[in-house]
C-alpha cells in the first residue's frame, strides 16, 4: 500500500541494520545539547531510551504515572530475556532467533525489524551484566540459560523468577544516574494526556501532575511513547492496575495509526479467577513449563484429588497433541488447548475452568540426579521427592510461594491449577523501521508499538524488545529525524497549539466531573472487560464480534451519561485518572473488535472460530491477510483501514507446526 511507508532500508536482510547504522544522519554533540526529547513511560523501553539519549547528550524529560520510575510494570516480568548468544552451544544463532520469532508470531511481523531485534539481543545481555544486573550463573561463574516456549534451544537468560525486576532496576539505575547528573528531568506521578502537534509534527505533550491536578505544558523536538500495552481493556489481566492505553490512544487520536489491535496474548499459565471481587490476575511464569507437565483427567467431571488420579487416567494433552514441543509450545497454542479441554468438560477445580500444572515427575527426576550426586543408592520415592524439592525450590521458589499465598494451596504437594489470562498486547501504535509513528517526530517503543511479535509473542521476548528499542535502536534511528531539526528552536509553550491542547484536556476532565451519574468508573470497566473477554478473547466469531461492537457503543454512551467521578480536578484524585483511562479503553475496545472482525483468518493469538484446520489449529489466509492492519482514527470514533503488506523474502511461509 502506498500511503504508509515502513522505510525499511534496502539490501540483504543481514546487512540492513549494519549499513543503516553506518549511514544514518548524526547530530553533533553541540547540537544535541539544544535538542529536547520527551519520553513517556519509564519501563524497560522508556528508562533505557531516556538514559541512553541523555548519555548521548540530548536534553531529556521523562514522565511516569507511578511514584517512581522503578515501579513500571516491566518490573513484574518473571521468566527471562532471550538473546542469541549461543552460550549453550546448542545451535542458536541470530538467524534462528529471527526465524523462531517470525514463526512464533505466525508470519505477521515485519522481517527487517525482527532480524534487527535478533541482532542486538546479544548486546543487551552484555549491557545489563555491565550494569550489575545479577543474572543467574552456573558454578563456573558463567551465565546460565533455560528454555522457553516455541524454541528448541536454551537462549533465555534469567534472574530467578524476577528477571523483569532486575533488568528494570538496571535501566532505572542508568536513568537515575542521568537524573543525578541533571541530564534527565524526571516527572513522577505525572500522566500524559495529550500530544501537542505543530505544523503536523509532534512538539510536546500536556501532562497532569497527579498530586496537584495541575496541567503542564512540555515542549520536545521529539516525543517518545514507551507507555506499555493495553491488556487492561479486559479489566482482568496480568497487567498492573494502572497500566493503560491513554498515551497511545491520545497519539492515535492525533493521527498515529494503531496497528493490529486485535492481536492480544492470552497467557496459558495464570492463577484462575476465584470470584467477582478479583481485581487482577497473577501470572505463573512460562519458565514453569520447563519442569511442569500440563494435564487434565481423562474422565469428565473427575472430582478426585489430583494426586489420587493414577497416571494412566491423566491426559497430558500438550504432549499428546504436540510431541515435538510438548509442554513448551507457544503461548497461543497452549492457551487454546487448555480452553478446548475445559470447554469439552474436562476442566478441574471448583469453576471447572482450570487445568493442572504438575511438577511431581520432574521433582522426582531431579531427586534421582541429586541422589546419584550424593551417592545415595536405592532410596525410596519420598527421599527422591524431598531431594528434588530443593532443586525445584531453587529454580522457582518465589513463584511457588506466590501461588501458595494467593490460593492457600501448597504447590510442592499438589499440582497447581492454572488457566489462561490476558497478558500482553502484540498490537500497538504502527511504527516504521525507525520506530516512528505516522505522526512525524512521534515515536513508539516497547509494548506500545506493534512491530516485532506479529500475532503472537514468544516468551522472554518482551524484555528483549523493550530493551532493544530503548538501548540500541532509538538512539540511532532518532538521528534520522533530529538531524533535520537542529535549527528548530525550542518552541515556547504559550504557542496556540499548546494552549488549545491544554484547553481540550481541561474540558474533558471537567466533563467527567460534571456528569455526576450513578455508576462508578470500575463498574464500566468491568462491564467492558466482560464483553471483551467473552467476545474478543481466546476465540472470536463474526456474530460475537458484531454484537460486541454494538454493546461497546452502547456502554460508551452510558458511560458518558451516567459515570460518577467524585472529588475535583485540582487535587490527587485517582478516580478521575481511572475515568480518563476507561474512556479511552471504551474506544479502543471497539477498534479491537472491528479489527478482529476484519481479519477473516486465524493467526497466533487471533483465533476466529470460522477459520481453523480439521485438527482445530489456526488457519491463516496468506493470500488476503498477509498485512499489518493500520487503523486511522476519524472524528466521532470511526476508523479507516490502511494496509502494510508483509513480504517474507528470507523465510519460507508455512503452516506453523509444533507437532
Amino acid at each position: 500500500m502506498a500511503d504508509i511507508n515502513s522505510n525499511i532500508p534496502e539490501g540483504e536482510l543481514t546487512q540492513k541494520w549494519t549499513k543503516y547504522r553506518s549511514s544514518v544522519a548524526l547530530v553533533n554533540p553541540a547540537n544535541k545539547r539544544s535538542i529536547e526529547v520527551i519520553v513517556v513511560g519509564s519501563g524497560l523501553a522508556g528508562a533505557s531510551a531516556a538514559a541512553t539519549l541523555a548519555e548521548m547528550g540530548y536534553k531529556v524529560k521523562c514522565f511516569c504515572f507511578q511514584d517512581s520510575p522503578r515501579r513500571a510494570h516491566s518490573i513484574a516480568a518473571q521468566g527471562g530475556i532471550n538473546a542469541a548468544k549461543n552460550y549453550q552451544n546448542d545451535g542458536d544463532s541470530t538467524y534462528r532467533l529471527f526465524y523462531d520469532t517470525i514463526k512464533g508470531g505466525d508470519y505477521r511481523a515485519r522481517e527487517a525489524n525482527v532480524y534487527r531485534l535478533a541482532e542486538v539481543s546479544a548486546n543487551i545481555i552484555d549491557q545489563c551484566v555491565a550494569q550489575g544486573v545479577p543474572l543467574a550463573r552456573e558454578y563456573g561463574g558463567l551465565l546460565d540459560n533455560r528454555s522457553f516456549g516455541g524454541t528448541q534451544v536454551q537462549r533465555t537468560f534469567y534472574a530467578a523468577g524476577q528477571t523483569g525486576q532486575q533488568l528494570l532496576l538496571g535501566a532505572y539505575s542508568a536513568l537515575e544516574r542521568q537524573i543525578g547528573m541533571g541530564k534527565v528531568e524526571m516527572y513522577t506521578r505525572h500522566e500524559m494526556l495529550e500530544v501537542v502537534k505543530i505544523d503536523g509534527k509532534a512538539r510536546g505533550i500536556i501532562a497532569r501532575n497527579l498530586i496537584t491536578g495541575e496541567l503542564e505544558r512540555h515542549f520536545g523536538h521529539a516525543v517518545l511513547l514507551a507507555s506499555g500495552g493495553y491488556g487492561n481493556v479486559f479489566y482482568l489481566s496480568t497487567n498492573a492496575m494502572g497500566s493503560n492505553v491513554t498515551a497511545a490512544w491520545k497519539a492515535h487520536r492525533q493521527g498515529a495509526f494503531f496497528a493490529n489491535p486485535c492481536f492480544t496474548q492470552i497467557h496459558p499459565t495464570c492463577i484462575p479467577v476465584s470470584g467477582d471481587h478479583q481485581s487482577k490476575l497473577t501470572l505463573m511464569s512460562e519458565s514453569l513449563r520447563n519442569d511442569g507437565r500440563i494435564w487434565v483427567p481423562k474422565k469428565k467431571d473427575d472430582n478426585r484429588k489430583p494426586t489420587d488420579i493414577p497416571e494412566d487416567e491423566r491426559d497430558y494433552y500438550l504432549e499428546r497433541r504436540y510431541p515435538a514441543f510438548g509442554n513448551l509450545v507457544p503461548r497461543d497454542v497452549a492457551s487454546r488447548a487448555a480452553k478446548e479441554r475445559c470447554d469439552a468438560g474436562y476442566g478441574v477445580g471448583a469453576s471447572k475452568l482450570a487445568v493442572y500444572l504438575d511438577f511431581a515427575a520432574n521433582t522426582e527426576r531431579y531427586g534421582r540426579i541429586e541422589a546419584t550426586k550424593h551417592g545415595i543408592q536405592n532410596a525410596d520415592k519420598a527421599t527422591y521427592m524431598r531431594l528434588g524439592r530443593e532443586v525445584v525450590k531453587e529454580k522457582y521458589g518465589n513463584l511457588f510461594d506466590m501461588y501458595a499465598q494467593i490460593t492457600g494451596e501448597d504447590p510442592y504437594e499438589t499440582p497447581m491449577r492454572i488457566y489462561p489470562a490476558v497478558h500482553y498486547t502484540m498490537g500497538g501504535l504502527w511504527v516504521d523501521y525507525n520506530l516512528m509513528t505516522t505522526v512525524p517526530g512521534l515515536y513508539a517503543l516497547g509494548e506500545a508499538n506493534f512491530s516485532d511479535h506479529g500475532a503472537n509473542r514468544l516468551g522472554a521476548s518482551a524484555l528483549m524488545q523493550g530493551l532493544a528499542d530503548g538501548y540500541f535502536v532509538i538512539p540511532y534511528t532518532i538521528g534520522a529525524y533530529l538531524s533535520k531539526e537542529i535549527s528548530t528552536k525550542a518552541i515556547p509553550t504559550d504557542h496556540p497549539a499548546f494552549v488549545e491542547a491544554e484547553n481540550s484536556v481541561k474540558e474533558t476532565l471537567e466533563r467527567f466531573l460534571t456528569i455526576k451519574g450513578s455508576r462508578s468508573v470500575d463498574h464500566f470497566h468491568k462491564a467492558l472487560g466482560k464483553i471483551m473477554w467473552d467476545k474478543c478473547g481466546m476465540a472470536r466469531n463474526e456474530q460475537g464480534l458484531t454484537e460486541a461492537i454494538a454493546e461497546i457503543r452502547a456502554l460508551r454512551e452510558e458511560f458518558w451519561r451516567d459515570v460518577r467521578v467524585p472529588g475535583s480536578m485540582d487535587e490527587y484524585n485517582p478516580e478521575l485518572e481511572k475515568a480518563g483511562r476507561v474512556a479511552d479503553f471504551l474506544e479502543l475496545g471497539e477498534l479491537m473488535c472491528i479489527d478482529a472482525l476484519n481479519r477473516k483468518e486465524s493467526c497466533g493469538g487471533h483465533f476466529r472460530e470460522e477459520y481453523q484446520t480439521e485438527e482445530g489449529e489456526a488457519l491463516r489466509d496468506d493470500e488476503n491477510f498477509a498485512y499489518a492492519a493500520a487503523w486511522e482514527y476519524l472524528e466521532g470514533v470511526h476508523f479507516n483501514l490502511h494496509k502494510e503488506e508483509l513480504k517474507f523474502e528470507n523465510i519460507k511461509v508455512a503452516q506453523r507446526s509444533y507437532k
Binding site: Q66, N123, G141, E176, Y572
Partner: protein, 251 residues
Amino acid sequence: MNLTLKVWRQKNSKSAGKLVDYQVSDISPDMSFLEMFDVLNEQLINKGEEPIVFDHDCREGICGMCSMFINGRPHGPKQGITTCQLHMRSFKDGDTIVVEPWRAAAFPVIKDLATDRSSFDRIIAAGGFISVNTGNAQDANALPIPKSQADAAFEAAACIACGACVATCKNASAMLFVSAKISQLALLPQGQPERYRRVQSMVAQMDAEGFGNCTNTRACEAECPKGISLENIARMNRDYYAAKFVSEEEV
C-alpha cells in the same frame, strides 16, 4: 466476614489527619487486602463520599508501590509479603483493623494512605549505579563471577523499595534499603571501581533526606517483604569506614 476498619484520612500534606471508622460486610476470605479496600471505596463512591487514596499498582508483590501500616505492622501481620499479597483469610470475622500510612519525616503523607517516597530515588541517583554508558560493555561471559557471589548480589537486589523498613524503624532509618543497593554492587566485580565513592555519596544523600540512624533493633529485617538481610547494613558500615579512613573522596 464483617470488619471494622479504622483508616487514616488526611486531605493533603498540609492538613492534619485522623482515623475514621468504616464498616465492611460480606468480605470473602479469598479477597486480597487491597480488594477489600476496593469494595470499601465502591461503597463510599456510591454514598457520594470521597474514596480512600492508597498507593498500589502491580498487585503481585513486586512493584513496591503498596504501603499500608496495618495493626501496627508494615504490610500487615504476615511475613515476607506486601500488602497486596495479604489475603483476608489472615483475619477473623468481627476484627477491627487499623490502617495507617508509612510514618517517617522523609516520607511525607500526600493524601490518606499515600506517601511521598521520592527520597529513595534521590539516594539511588546519588550513587546507586555502575557508570557504564550504553554500548560500553564487554561480552557478558568475559567476566566469570562465582555463583555464590552472584547469588548474594541477587538476594540484595531483590529489594522493592517499598519503604517498610523505614516505616517500622523507630528511628525511621533507611539503612536496610540503602545497604541493599550498596551490597548488590559491592559484591560484584563490576561494582568495584566506584565502590567507596558510591557508599559515601549514598550515605550522604540518605542523611540529607532526614532518615535516622541504625540502632540494630532489627525491625527492618523482620518486616522486609523480600527478606533483605541485616548483614547488608554491616557491609555498608564496613565499606563506609573503609572509605572514610582509606579513600575518602569529595562527594
